[in-house]
Symmetry: C2
Subunit: 333 residues, 2 copies
């Protein structure tokens, strides 16, 4: 069985490749576990650094909104698609057309390509808690209606609706997964407004200075990459009868303040790590963060057996174990 | 000021043309009332019967998903757009591509055309209570999250999200209006699953036999065309500061059973009218209707001054007054 990962060159995609190679199998269209014969990592450019040297892994570069390209990738034999390709929040806000093209048209290209397959593939669509909005304090649970206040959130909310509808029609067997802010992201800062939440832990632990643009009181709902990958695979392999018609799923998270994150940093890296944070409030980012869900009750996820992190310390420890060596190498150029 | 009505050849569009001609003015982009110099009725074919003979009215035939065509219609000078063009529920369910092209791409073509205007026009987007779904009995209020169970509902819910986002960005000054089932629709039955709700009143009053495919106990939330037009114009002319960031608005309705509708028919048209209904249950339509909201509490609409009907008798009387003469002429071919 072929597994396709769109946006697969990003950090979630890379961790997913490692996991799929390790598992060696995943649930196929009929629910039975199938051997993974090929993992296609589709992204706009070839992955840097290169993908694992494994005969099962193949990189394809192309435009997610180009239907012919996407159809070529999601070809017969594809039993599973992880659709991670996206333009992140700040970039989608800065360029409406780009966001619509990648986040909305790209998602349509992916699910429409699935229409040509002889069996509806499992589809895990990375949505986002940016679908929530409204006035702070924003408390979110499984019944909270999407009310996006960014173009990114609106585009993701549209994608979710289409994944639900295509699942109902039997074109895909979808799971539209609402990701909390992922902390600690490895790699470099990106254009997401939330990027600082990882930077303030990752950079000091790697010996690099960083800026925190929000106040210590600011509260966020976060999930580690390690737990995220577990959640994605659990959902992917789950019998869809457990999901029913509603395929939009809020992932687990813990609610911590920036101050609590920095306390965890001190426990892991000492005072010298904390001193690498420069506090420079950015009113724009502060306002964005103040409108994000501070606390999210993911009861349905818990019932489905999805497990979040227990503490900020556990999240930092996972980063140190999984990613810090590569991160230090990156920092040293 | 030019007013554009997409899907303007339908019954709502025609009633809107009459109303706009009578009003002679409507709120412009800056909120001040402006004289209406032109009403463009855009639809896929030329209107039959012809539009009112008024120098201000112009019919344009074209495809709503053709961006160049739509840009030509929503040209500089357009202060107001009523976007009514849609593929209705059963048709969008039967043909996924057609529904996506008209209901989603068409809406995007309309709001993107507005990006080229020097001032953001008012945009009234006809959405639908088909955005609601889930298990019956479905009770809906302003906080009920969209959970569509049809492709039509999913496409409308996406359109609403985009109208909200484009309003937030200042591209349009939008109102995404959730229409209940409109009763009594004049004209002929269409491909909407709800079409019988009008047919069982309209046809008997016009001396024509009709079939009722659902049981008398079936309950629906309905609004008359007359009140609908009032609601659309009130929302159009309203200062958008009253709406805030949330531009999705549930319209008022009354909750009646099919049995109560038929009792109203008997009061208006006598026993002979009721006898023109043949009761032939259709399990498919019964199931669809059972999943529609039976009762909707539109508190926000009431606060905004939107007024629904008081009774089924009032709704039937409005049809008799506004539409029955033309309906009888239609019935006699």
């Amino acid at each position: 069985m072929r597994v396709v990962i769109t946006g697969g060159a990003g950090f979630v995609g890379r961790k997913l490749v490692d996991r799929l190679l390790r598992d060696g199998e995943a649930a196929g269209p009929d629910g039975a576990m199938r051997e993974i014969s090929e993992i296609v990592v589709f992204d706009q450019t070839d992955p840097v650094p290169p993908l694992p040297d494994d005969r099962r892994v193949r990189a394809v570069a192309g435009d997610i909104s180009d239907r012919a390209t996407v159809e070529g990738v999601i070809a017969e034999g594809t039993g599973s698609v992880f659709h991670l390709a996206a333009v992140v929040s700040a970039a989608a806000e800065a360029d409406l057309d780009l966001g619509l093209r990648v986040n909305l048209d790209g998602t349509r290209a992916v699910i429409d390509a699935c229409r040509k397959l002889s069996a509806p593939p499992r589809l895990v669509f990375a949505s986002s808690c940016a679908v929530y909005g409204g006035e702070p304090p924003v408390l979110v649970d499984d019944l909270t209606p999407p009310d996006p206040r960014t173009s990114y959130g609106a585009q993701k909310a549209c994608g979710e609706l289409l994944v639900n509808d295509y699942s109902r029609r039997g074109i895909v067997d979808g799971r539209a997964v609402r990701l909390p802010t992922i902390v600690v992201r490895p790699g470099k800062p990106n254009k997401a407004a939330s990027t600082f939440a990882s930077s303030i832990l990752r950079e000091p632990l790697s010996g690099v200075e960083t800026i925190c643009p929000v106040e210590p009181r600011s509260r966020m709902a976060i999930l580690s990459p390690r737990r995220l990958i577990d959640c994605l695979m659990t959902l992917h392999n789950m019998n869809s009868a457990r999901l029913g018609a509603e395929r939009r799923i809020l992932l687990p998270s813990i609610s911590v303040t920036i101050g609590e994150m920095v306390e965890g940093l001190e426990r892991a890296g000492g005072r010298e790590a904390v001193d690498r944070i420069k506090w420079q409030r950015d009113d724009h980012i502060q306002s964005i963060v103040d409108h994000w869900p501070a606390r999210m009750e993911a009861s349905r996820a818990a019932k489905l057996g999805l497990v979040g992190d227990r503490s900020i310390d556990e999240m930092i420890a996972a980063f140190v174990e999984d990613d810090l060596p590569a991160q230090k190498a990156l920092a040293q150029g």
